[in-house]
Symmetry: D3
Subunit: 322 residues, 6 copies
């Protein structure tokens, strides 16, 4: 809990929301090394990186656009009344510096950055980046024990390889994470899976290790409440990561992404699924695959930061609970 | 009722819909002072003004774009079969001339324009403009007695002031209207309220004066029919104003607006809520906050005029009823 | 059934999906006259033609954009597991060459092209083109006996004439088709009809000949399953054409079209209605009115090809059944 | 000369330029039949028609967008000081109603409309429409004697036919006009011709009848002043038509057109060539091929109306001269 | 001169240019009150304000977009080799907080902010904002003695009032500045003036007080070198302000602005005119009227920051000279 | 020379230019292995790859968009009258399949593809792809002896490394090519160099090995003819490669690119510099860095293919000369 106004976002009543240098949520920028770095509870981190993208690139521009859109977010949750930036000390810790031309080097840099956060007791909320970003993050967060994961997406990202043997793309991160012992597959649930398929290799793998896949058909049939109750049960009270690929949402609501699949949830459901996470033992979250070049109206980024705010409110509950 | 073809829109069967000077709904342009001005039942008025906007500007361009999109509207309601332009004499009476650099002066001009309509017994259907436009309109329509209001919006617009004491912005019109006795708060209902909040000042005010707020969560849970039944009860049979902020609708369906909030109604619900107004004692209506610079595909304006057509059909019922 | 890899689309695992010459679905291009033309089971045909458009033009660019978007489609249906390009030999047979400045000449060329397909025992899947395209196609497919039709649209396209006597526009094809005996009106159902109306001439005609119109209100009230069950009953087991106007879908999900009507189905329902066609005796299908100049994000075309894939899977079931 | 304020555009000092119903140049709308029709000196006419387009359609939307952009034009020429709307009575006479699905019928309607103007002694300034529009206009203006023509374009529009015998497209109007005796080819000059060619059929025809073609290479080498001096000499003092295809200008300056050719004049040269027409015996002018769907920023339409203003100033000189 | 790496922009070789929180030119953010504030030589200031705009709004979004685009700027001038961020200590000092709904209050806040800079001996480089922004800035910079000014623009901004008596709009700032004694009109030159005119009131005023107007026609005829030589002579060696309205540049090169006028300089000339300022006694500069909502490709902002970099290099020369 | 109509593009007089499967220039698609592969004189090759991009990605989409735009190109050069597709057998040989997640592997695949062409005596015309594409191409073309190069660009692409040691990016290809002996630096000229600089490392290298850099300032001062005469002299009659980065052209004319620099040549100059290559001993050419996601109007791709046509005409001269 922080009542230190230093950590409060600038209010739109003081400085209009279109004004000012766009940090995430208009929070203070506190880079690693800053004297107040240690006071942070939750860090919002940019991972401007899309070298794992096998299709249309763009998520490297995600953090910049998400910062811009985030200046539209205000202080208080409309339903729960949670004021996350008062409940916990949040800060924009800047971007990890990727090397767009070297995947392995970039992954090392990302893991090292998150290790720094973890060592300082800071919980990360990531703005990606393509979905490969989640792997180096999990290498840090899951370094001690495998995590559970609630994964919103239209794709499983559980393939073994692409293009004849390439093991690290945005279609493979969770296969690697399971293999590396970063995720406990029995505590992983993937929600919203849909779209035409290459084959069933990914789903076969999921089955073989115990990952639960909830297709979009099941999602639409059962509804948010029922599906999320099952998801909560799967991850239980143990440490859990939340990975939110914006292409979980129907591409009409979120066109700014590289590999859209039609027929997904609407924007209200996109928020509801996060609200249903309240009380879980969340240790980190990401919002990935926001691709500004395909976001002609900016609406995808705004939806993205609206979801990030919901995630922060859920995290605030847990921080408050200690 | 008018069978005078002078007041009928040009048919798309005669002049293709992309052709011709774009007056509202392809109606005749009858400015105040015109000899036929007195024959008008319902005037469509443009209020090209957004000086009350605290965030992203643009609604000053709304009337122009709404006129353009309105040439896609035809003669007959698909469900009720109402033909509003035969049921009543409608006209495009042009735009009020605002002074973009003087808020008080602009409000005076707007009120004066509507007084002219009222004096001639003409009911106004407004194409805004930002939501501050509703205040000077209500100063005319509510000059004799406070009105009820059905207000579709994602924001309450009930704040006291912005930027340290600025009383007239698009976030304050209905606070002012209640204070000025133009609205009867007990006969005011606000539907669709959502989004992150500065604080609860606006909702506290609503509570204190008896304004009923129906949040988007309640809207989605109860459904259109149930919510609108309550709304009808709240306003009753007394004179009622309808204020429709396009940001009531989910921003994916209506991206062309300045302060979007995700998670709103879809376009079908956007029409249904108006159909549910049938038979009410409506004395005027507005469609506000359509902001063309953010409407990359023109879809917002088209939805806006589709809603305006629904409003006209509801008005036609009342005009028919005498 | 074909296991000949010649007819399989190029996999995104071999050649990234943004690469390569964009044929429909990355299928081989086999023009009439090609030695392997006779092996084709289902031909995807482009009809780049919009001379029948009375409003905003653009569908002449549809086939090009649909080909481009179709390279995002993979091999397998996510629910049924159908792999249509293995179940039947599919090919891109190119575009019919229209004459943009001569409607009658263009219709003759289209009919002649489809006659060629029919003579070779090939079932056509068309990428239009405006809706007038369906008439010359039906002149071929329905030349021997009138067909049933399941027609997804927001308009009936049953008007008699436009602009004082013009009989061939995209608002009249099915009136002509009924008059010419190409369709059996008692086996025709139109789903999704909505929007402001000129008058009831089209609906009166439908009633007089026995065409069943299911309005959008009925669609939303009853739901996909119930409506489609009725549609299946109407067409029965006899040969049936499927005509899918992209403006059936709500314009927020499919803005790239010339005559949008708000309040339509979402993208999930857009797929579901096709899945419900499984097992019908389909002899051809079209996807029309995709208008790239109004499709600012490309999402309409992607939805269009997603629907085309669903249609192909339904056709595959029938081809499999022999 | 008119000092009647009825004919003066609304000033941006009175009504902001984004406000009001968008007539051409904010002039009064005076349809044929209006009592003041006979007082008009110069009529601005919309021809919303593009059925002659063999490539990308869109100019049917030109008049609407040109009207919109024209509200940015003020009263006085910055160099000459001419105030055209005081020098002559100008009005927006509305659009000719085309039949988008019937070329011959549309041409008849256009010619009839211009005959009405001519009979009333009104000089037309046209906002097209594709370039085929010029043919039915010339059938009116050139009905008594063949005219000279200064033609700005990247294409000659002198082809004989398209698609195997189609005689009326936007690539053939001036071939037809010469054949029909509407233009005196020896008094015709075409400026700015460029781009890849089908063949030399059009240029061979030009040569055979004495039309002078000034290619873009010659234009850039010699400069505006020299080229326009020759053009003036070619048309002399006899009645002359000015046809200005927006694709004369480089497509970077005017992207909103259907058949762009790179390497053209810039926007300053686009104005200069019109200024050089001062004093000629102009009997009519057109601005054609403005295609809003391809004009992503609206800049093409604004350049188009800026050129139309220049043309009106040149016309004003002649009207002043009697 | 500063060799303190604290003041150096982050290199694109270390952090890719699309990454990081977008401060101006990737400089450190040093707000007034910061301990290092006093070390700054040149402050880049955002003025996100457009309440003086009489036409299309948007420049309130300018500073945000200019910051974003500025991350594309590198360290060294390609011709002179000047490295401005090493030659002087530059910083992003954030935005002045305007009140979008109160013009007078906003002007007071702006002047107060610049007074702070002046008191600290910091030279301001402003990113506007509409052109009215220059007036409150000049009220600070010219408080002791009237300044000379080199003004690049297509408009004189010398009108007396708008809308019947409104004295403070973006069309009047320099009339006010002359009246208030902030500018010495005999040392003011306006370059690039063009476009249709309301009347000659502004030019008459210029003449009466001795302001030199160089029209675009004169600019194109004489060329950059000749025109700028005269400009240098006009302002001489005394303190001079540089005001650069992006609409000086042709709107094809800079579409993102509210009141474009065609026929202006190209992007190369846009840079050249600044290079010609080298050695002048510049005390401040602004880049105004960049309007992101009309900058569909972002090119306007990138040109804007490219010009700002040129201005900084010129300032660096003077700082170096002491 | 080929008179075989098999190799002629489809004429827009037969099939409208918006129709048909978009191969480059509407040429036949002849993949390696096709029986007619050996008859090809000039192959147009797509390299859909941008993994070397350090800034904004997108050129992987270049070949697709260039193919689409290329259907606007006709048969004959407007000045020289050359008909390249009759002068030599041209074909679209498809795209090299890159691996977007593996730079070294992709370079190997590219070199292997070009080796195939070289072995068959086919001259390549490449549609990139980012500028790193040129390196693996040169590894094939320059395998026997170092080539000369005329390089149009705003950047030298001669840096040693990025991000602390990354040797293969789109900023380093020609440094590598010189080091690997693929280019003879004394026969290399770079034209159009401009923009803010990191430092002078690249220019120092150029100087040290004898590469001639012609800056944009020199280009504008001397003019096309003079500069190109020097360029011709530098490369002489020996085998020469032409590398054309679209960012050579001013970004207003070619916004669709990742690293724009303002102040470049216009579209006419963009063509003229190619025309000046006539008669040189060209052994291959590329058009790179066309980035569709930033090409909001498609104009960049159209300019790109217009330049490719000019390059083909120059190649045709050489093929004709034997």
């Amino acid at each position: 809990m922080t009542s230190d106004p230093f950590f409060h976002p600038v209010s739109g009543f003081d400085l209009p929301r279109f004004a000012g240098i766009p940090t995430f949520m208009r929070l203070p920028h506190i880079a690693p090394g800053d004297p107040r770095f240690g006071e942070i509870d939750v860090a919002i981190v940019g991972v401007p990186w899309d070298s794992g993208t096998t299709n249309r690139p763009g998520p490297r521009h995600g953090p910049r656009q998400l910062r811009d859109a985030s200046t539209m977010i205000r202080a208080e949750h409309p339903v729960s009344g949670v004021r996350p930036f008062e409940a916990m000390a949040c800060a924009d810790v800047g971007d990890v510096a990727p090397n767009p031309a070297d995947i392995q080097e970039s992954m090392k840099r990302i893991t090292a950055f998150y290790d720094q956060l973890l060592d300082a007791g800071i919980m990360p909320m990531t703005a990606g980046g393509d979905h490969l970003s989640s792997l180096p993050i999990l290498r840090s967060l899951g370094r001690k024990a495998p995590l559970g994961m609630i994964h919103f997406d239209s794709h499983t990202d559980l393939f073994n390889s692409y293009f004849g043997g390439t093991m690290y793309t945005h279609g493979t991160p969770f296969r690697r994470a399971v293999e590396e012992g970063l995720l406990d597959p029995k505590r992983v649930v993937q929600i919203g899976i849909r779209g035409t398929a290459y084959d069933t290799e990914d789903k076969d793998f999921a089955k073989s290790v115990g990952i639960r896949i909830i297709t979009i058909e099941e999602f639409h049939d059962r509804g948010v409440a029922d599906v999320m109750a099952e998801a909560r049960e799967i991850v239980g009270n143990a440490p859990t990561y939340v990975s939110y690929d914006i292409d979980f949402v129907d591409p009409t609501f979120a066109p700014g992404t590289g590999t859209p699949e039609v027929g997904g949830p609407n924007s209200y459901q996109a928020l509801q699924v996060v609200r249903a996470l309240d009380g879980l033992n969340i240790v980190g979250a990401d919002m990935v695959e926001v691709s500004p070049p395909f976001d002609t109206s900016g609406g995808t980024a705004f939806l993205g930061v609206s979801i990030m705010f919901e995630l922060l409110c859920v995290m605030a509950g847990r921080v408050a609970a200690g």
